[in-house]
């Protein structure tokens, strides 16, 4: 499997709207169908929180922590943008975890399922 690289500023700009961030996320997910690792080069990129949330936070939520960290490389980050990206990833992963926990809590366990089975 190959790797793929995006220059965030030129491939996805302008980096301000949720819509643009969602489009960028779709492009990255498409690239991941054939590439083992996708690199996002943020050199000179100053995304808005909404864009960063949709692109990077959205990828983390979709892929899960382990796959996201293994298959998405982020390089060229400016010191001002780094805490934003850390924040959107942490927040989206926590939301996904909470949604997953809630979903598990609502599912009946094996014993409950036996009791619920029609006789």
């Amino acid at each position: 499997m190959s790797s793929s690289e995006f220059q965030v500023i030129s491939d996805f700009g302008p980096l301000s709207t949720r819509e643009a961030g969602a489009r960028a996320r779709s492009s990255v997910l498409s690239a991941m169908e054939i590439a083992a690792v996708v690199t996002l080069d943020f050199t000179d990129a100053r995304p808005s929180p909404s864009f960063a949330d949709e692109l990077v936070g959205g990828l983390a939520a979709k892929l899960g922590r382990e796959v996201f960290l293994r298959r998405v490389r982020i390089v060229g980050l400016d010191a001002a943008v780094r805490p934003l990206l850390n924040h959107v990833v942490a927040t989206r992963l926590k939301q996904s975890q909470a949604a997953s926990d809630n979903s598990s809590a609502e599912k009946p366990n094996a014993k409950d399922r036996r009791q619920l089975a029609p006789v």
């Binding site: 301000s16 100053r46 909404s50 939520a61 982020i74 001002a80 805490p83 850390n86 990833v89 927040t91």
Partner: protein, 271 residues
């Protein structure tokens, strides 16, 4: 003779974007067919497109001078794209006024993009025009003001759609609540909004000597570097008004805003 109302304006002697945004929205709300302002202000009001922004003819024709570096006239937000275009055009005002620092321009662009997009996504005005935005810089006073206002459902109703805030809204100021990091009426995964816009705008102003004024329904909130104040408005505004004012001789660092956001130690360090 039209049965639609007219609006006569008796206002302060020094007009800011705030006044134009409020007046134009009120005209829009009433579907007024004429607006009368004191003759002394007519030229200025016309250049700020007070009439034109809501589809009316101005009382006098003015030469549309290039406003570069001075102001951005009232502009309707009708889509996320127009919201972004207005943010970009307002940025040109500050470039023209002498702000050349890239980090400062990026911070202004980020804050404006977020609050103008908020207007489009959350105002729910039920009309083609979601809201109106305008800006002015006063180079000699080294001061700038940007305002976006709408006649939508207001912050309290908007946040009320998220049951997570039901209890807090019973006792708290909705405008202040909306500036908290992560507070949104449309959370992910269903709504896919994350509540960054007003937080970024507030914290950017607080950290750099500016001010955020937020008025919605009966809820009023103001934040500056000296502290914040929430209060009940004597005259409610049906909709939402966001006004940012700052000194143009102080550079902005949006990284300082992001670095101050809470995190759970090293676990939240991915990059």
């Amino acid at each position: 003779m039209s049965s639609k109302p007219g609006v006569e304006f008796h206002g302060p002697t020094f007009l800011r974007p705030y006044h134009f945004a409020v007046l134009a929205n009120q005209v829009h709300r009433l579907d007024a067919t004429r607006v009368t302002v004191p003759k002394a202000f007519q030229g200025y009001a016309s250049r700020m497109r007070l009439w034109q922004s809501v589809g009316l003819e101005p009382p006098n024709k003015v030469t549309e001078r290039n406003p570069g570096g001075r102001f951005h006239p009232l502009s309707p937000i009708v889509s996320e794209m127009t919201a972004q275009n207005i943010a970009r055009d307002i940025l040109a005002v500050f470039r023209g006024a002498g702000t050349s620092d890239k980090a400062t321009l990026n911070a202004i662009d980020t804050a404006l993009s977020e609050i103008f997009s908020n207007c489009f996504f959350h105002a729910e005005a039920g009309r083609e025009i979601c809201g109106l935005a305008c800006a002015q810089s006063w180079p000699y006073a080294r001061l700038a003001q940007v305002v976006v206002a709408d006649i939508g459902i207001g912050i309290r109703s908007s946040l009320g759609a998220n049951l997570a805030y039901s209890e807090r809204l019973k006792s708290e100021n909705a405008a202040e609540l909306a500036t908290e990091l992560g507070v949104t009426s449309k959370p992910a995964p269903g709504g896919a909004h994350s509540g960054y816009g007003l937080t970024v705008a507030r914290q950017l102003m607080e950290k750099h000597g500016g001010s955020l004024l937020l008025l919605s329904g009966n809820d009023g909130f103001r934040a500056t570097e000296h502290g914040s104040q929430a209060r009940e408005l004597r005259v409610p505004w049906r909709g939402t008004i966001v006004a940012l004012e700052w000194r143009t001789d102080r550079p902005f660092d949006i990284g300082a805003v992001y670095r101050a956001w809470p995190k759970d130690g090293d676990e939240d360090e991915f990059f």
